[in-house]
Symmetry: none
Subunit: 226 residues, 2 copies
DNA sequence: CGTAATGGTAAAGAGTTGTCAACGCTGTAA
DNA sequence: TTACAGCGTTGACAACTCTTTACCATTACG
């Protein structure tokens, strides 16, 4: 179920869009201003963003530019009002993938959404890279850098790190990790997970003894504090 | 220099577009009907296609559908006339990436073209040659030079290298290579890929034992670090 | 303070990759 | 036709990498 992030300050418009997309089977997140939209663009991991150009404080164009300069490839459709013709070209130049002029028919918007999602299928469902502290992780290239220097992770280590990042903030049990990262149905009682967590810590933590990112939650599991 | 394929039966329109794109620094191929468009879509290796919906014999919609069912991911922009509103949605559903209604401003078309090309960047760019380290690869001539001296690659080796360059940075599994470079549906479990990778390394790498470009990713595959 | 959980280290274990030599195929020349 | 050369493929095996286990030290919690 793809997720759509709607950034729109006009409440009635936002609700209408939300209902429409939910009716079509999408998951929906709504943001009321640019700052919230920017934050949710990474936190809610949407597959597509619908962005009003006219927003209080931070304009949609700024949001768009900011997202692109973060390296996100999230498909973006801009909503413009009639009379903002200039914005069309400008928006596309700033990295939007499409725009549509109010008033518009919902079906037309849907068609554009589907075209974009089809296009980006399998590519940008996840952000291409992720940063925390002085570590940066590039998922497409399977590369990790710490302080600008490349760090070698084994495939398992990388998969573990990726999973933790995708579930940042959540406490993950060893069983869950065994299932998701190791594909083990029933986890045998071993120290495998701990082992790998220790290795990860040594490679990416500043002080592996007092981990800042890969935190142990006693008797439960681990947590990545992104 | 990206190549645009224009499929348009109206000669004056075709010429206008051709001139416009050439002025903007694009290479242009023009087709006058759907059949020619279909053929040139693969033969001319365009980076983007501009497709009139109204064409003699085979409609633009048919061309679009055919191209997609061939598995092409070529970005397509459809040209519709006012009053063909239904075609818009239909066209997008059939796999077009965008449409624009006649009459339109050339700048708006350009903006859409650039947005699409930016989106698909790194995938369908058919650069003529590629350099890395002191190696240079010419795709058109199928020639490879190392330190200025010609290096002989067998056809398979060349195809492998080309594929790796096209997917530079990404880790490619042996299965993927078997499928894309060898056209094997289900890859038998052999050392074929490794063998060829080793040959490539001997021919291209400075120190084949410690490859700088053709890197092994244990348990996953290979990666070209361009 | 005692018990259980976790961290660290090293070595065994399992699986993957690099390399070699041999084989088959295709096209070319004698 | 036969011999030859080049390419692509395959199986064998050694060398290597990553993963797991074992063991003990350390830490957290009731």
């Amino acid at each position: 179920m793809p997720r759509v992030l709607i950034v729109e300050d006009d409440a009635s418009m936002a609700v209408a869009l939300k209902d429409g997309f939910e009716y079509e089977g999408y998951a929906v997140t709504v943001a009321k201003d640019g700052a919230a939209g920017l934050r949710l663009a990474s936190e809610a991991t949407p597959d597509l963003m619908i962005l009003d150009v006219m927003l209080p404080k931070m304009s949609g164009l700024d949001v768009c530019r900011q997202i692109r300069s973060d390296g996100h490839k999230l498909p973006i459709i801009m909503l413009t009002s009639r009379g903002q013709e200039i914005d069309k070209v400008l928006g596309l130049k700033l990295g939007a993938d499409d725009y549509i002029t109010k008033p518009f028919g919902f079906l037309e918007l849907m068609a554009r959404v589907e075209a974009l999602l089809r296009r980006s299928n399998g590519r940008n469902d996840a952000a291409e890279s992720y940063q925390f502290g002085n570590v940066s992780v590039n998922f497409r290239k399977s590369e990790v850098q710490k302080n600008g220097e490349s760090v070698d992770l084994s495939p398992r280590e990388f998969r573990l790190l990726k999973f933790l990042i995708e579930h940042r903030g959540e406490v993950i049990s060893r069983d869950q990790l065994m299932e998701s990262v190791w594909d083990y149905e029933n986890a045998p009682l071993t120290r495998t997970v701990d082992m790998h967590m220790a290795k990860l810590r040594r490679k990416i933590e500043e002080r592996p003894n007092e981990p800042a990112w890969l935190v142990t939650v006693h008797r439960v599991g681990y947590k990545f504090t992104g």
